[in-house]
Amino acid sequence: MPIWNARIERMPRAELEQLQLERLQATLNRIWDSVPFYRRRFEETGLMPEHIRSLDDVRLLPLTVKEDLRAGYPYDLFALPLREVVRIHASSGTTGQPTVVGYTKNDLRNWSELVARVLSAGGATKDDVIQISFSYGLLTDAFGFHQGAEEIGASVIPVSAGAPEQQLKIMRDFRSTALVGTPTDALRIAEALEEQEIPRTSLHLRWGMFGSAPWSENVRTRIESLLGISATDNYAISEVMGPGVSGECEENKGGLHINEDHFLCEVIDPESEEVLPPGEPGELVITTLTKEALPILRYRTRDLTSIDARPCPCGRTLARMARVSSRTDDMLIIGGVKLFPAQIEQVLTEVEGVEPHYRVIVDEVGGVDRVEVQVEVSGALLTGDVGRLLKMENLLRRRLQADLGLSAELKLVESRTIGPVEHPSQRIVDRRRAEGGERSKRE
């Protein structure tokens, strides 16, 4: 399994850290001159770029949050005039203003290189025929993967978003060997495969890379077995680049190698903002080291992970981050129990016949939290034996109680009534008044 850039991806840590320090200092010196937003933050604390003398000193720098980028809409945080910017993308902005990001020619070149690394780690070679089901447009996913795949020299099919039947037809006719898209795309295509009674073996698909929303290990197992492929996770965040920030290696799934020569990553306690040591879970904070158009310092991603800098069997020395399953503000308190939606998904998807599309509706009745969990199940199950349905409801209810301490009403619904969402947190419908207000502050 090829390492795209062995010189960097297997670089001894001491050399890598020197490179990071040089790039961090150069970025700070440039930002000081050219980004008024950061200049002001520096001046407020009396900090100067030369005070950052080691990588540890990065914690002295101010954190940047999504609201800062929103407030700068569209171009206030750009470090260069627009004539140097050759590409502009924007993040989705599920609620509120989207954030705008820009790239110079060098930024694009770096982006392609980084995605090429991530794709290679996931099994890509130039002989692949890569089908991209991400929507081509302002979002960074489609173009990011497209560039990286072209960089590798694979045959890229920019299908963009489309009905699963269409994706499947192209996959069969064009003999795609790889699928890059959301995990839901993969599941939908697998469903279509089943519906049309097409044997999995008739596909040429070898591997898949999925992201843009967290997906559990259970979902990975489903995708891998339904499509007969190796599926890897990657981490993308448009505010610092898009895809290409980190990705799993096939040898050792579960940890995503971070492209540390371009991104300096820290993990902080979301409450105290204190930097946490490797191994401890917290909020991922990213500083760009080479971005020219939009350099970002200590961006709070609101994604939960932990960092592992130990050597990986694949030979890469780049540190790994744990798969992101939750956001810091995803945490719910229902009936006194603290939960992440990702945990609910994990429990539900362990049961055979359950599709990973569910909804949790939380009401307050007479001062007590009342929870209803609606879950999609396959058509066959719903039209079949009522006894079986009841057994499944009971099973799920018991599991939620036993594993998570959550007492909930269960309602099994037809496939495709709930459908995919961009983020597990969107599966929660919280109708309680007290918590409801706080939750809408997010995103």
């Binding site: 320090l21 200092q25 150069a26 003398r53 140097e84």
Partner: protein
């Protein structure tokens, strides 16, 4: 090979370098570009020992060299070709070269000097032609070649070149810059300071851009060529070098 971390350097009370970090790996040609007064020569002098870093570190391999005497640093394999050549004008070309090997111990020199001379003459044949001529009577380009040759006689591992193109006619600049990449084949690593950013970027693997004592950009030569700021500030967009037409 060479690692500089967050180096601060002062001339008296004036801070000339502010947190400068860079590295040069074995076999690389790395350029430092920037305007006059940016701190390029100061950086070289901090490496060669003519200046001590007040804060930060300079390391050669595993060994800290910040604060060591310049002659000790020469013995460790770093030679600087100073700005403006600084030749001994009243000595012959050959004697200037010989002086470059001054610090080598007798047993290191004995029998092998011929090879050292041959190496320099192979790079710069004109020096052999003018071996007996007084250094002060050479042309600008020839003097620069002699200065470089003198540094090579000390058998360095790392060569620090300070503004080799300064004051030279385009053809001489071309000759010098054609020779520098050949040093690599002789196992030499080069850190090159240049105001002529275009010439430097054409032969360097990587470069750092200095502005008022700080590194503001680093990357491969290609990265920097593409950078509009670099183009505008240092490459004189639209300016064509006469010798590029050769």
């Amino acid at each position: 090979m060479l690692t500089v971390r967050s180096a601060d350097a002062y001339y008296g009370n004036v801070q000339a370098l502010k947190g400068v970090s860079l590295h040069v790996s074995e076999g690389e040609i790395v350029a430092l570009i920037g305007a006059n007064g940016a701190g390029k020569t100061t950086t070289l002098r901090t490496v060669s020992g003519l200046l001590s870093p007040r804060r930060g570190s300079v390391t050669l391999g595993d060994r800290s060299i910040g604060g060591l005497a310049p002659e000790a640093i020469v013995r460790l394999g770093i030679s600087q070709v100073p700005e403006n050549r600084r030749l001994f004008g009243l000595l012959s070309v050959r004697d200037n070269l010989l002086l470059g090997a001054y610090h080598l111990r007798w047993h290191e020199k004995r029998g092998s000097m011929r090879t050292d001379f041959d190496r320099v003459y192979a790079l710069f044949p004109v020096l052999q032609e003018r071996a007996q001529q007084l250094a002060g009577t050479l042309s600008g380009g020839e003097q620069q070649m002699l200065a470089i040759g003198r540094a090579l006689m000390s058998r360095p591992r790392l060569l620090l070149l300070d503004e080799p193109s300064l004051g030279l006619a385009p053809r001489a600049v071309k000759a010098i810059f054609d020779a520098i990449p050949q040093f690599r084949q002789q196992g030499l690593t080069v850190l090159l300071v240049e105001q002529n950013a275009r010439a430097a970027l054409q032969i360097a693997d990587r470069a750092y851009v200095l502005e008022t004592g700080r590194v503001v950009m680093e990357g491969t030569s290609l990265d920097l060529f593409n950078q509009k700021e670099v183009q505008r500030a240092y490459l004189g967009r639209g300016y064509r070098q006469v010798w590029e037409e050769d």
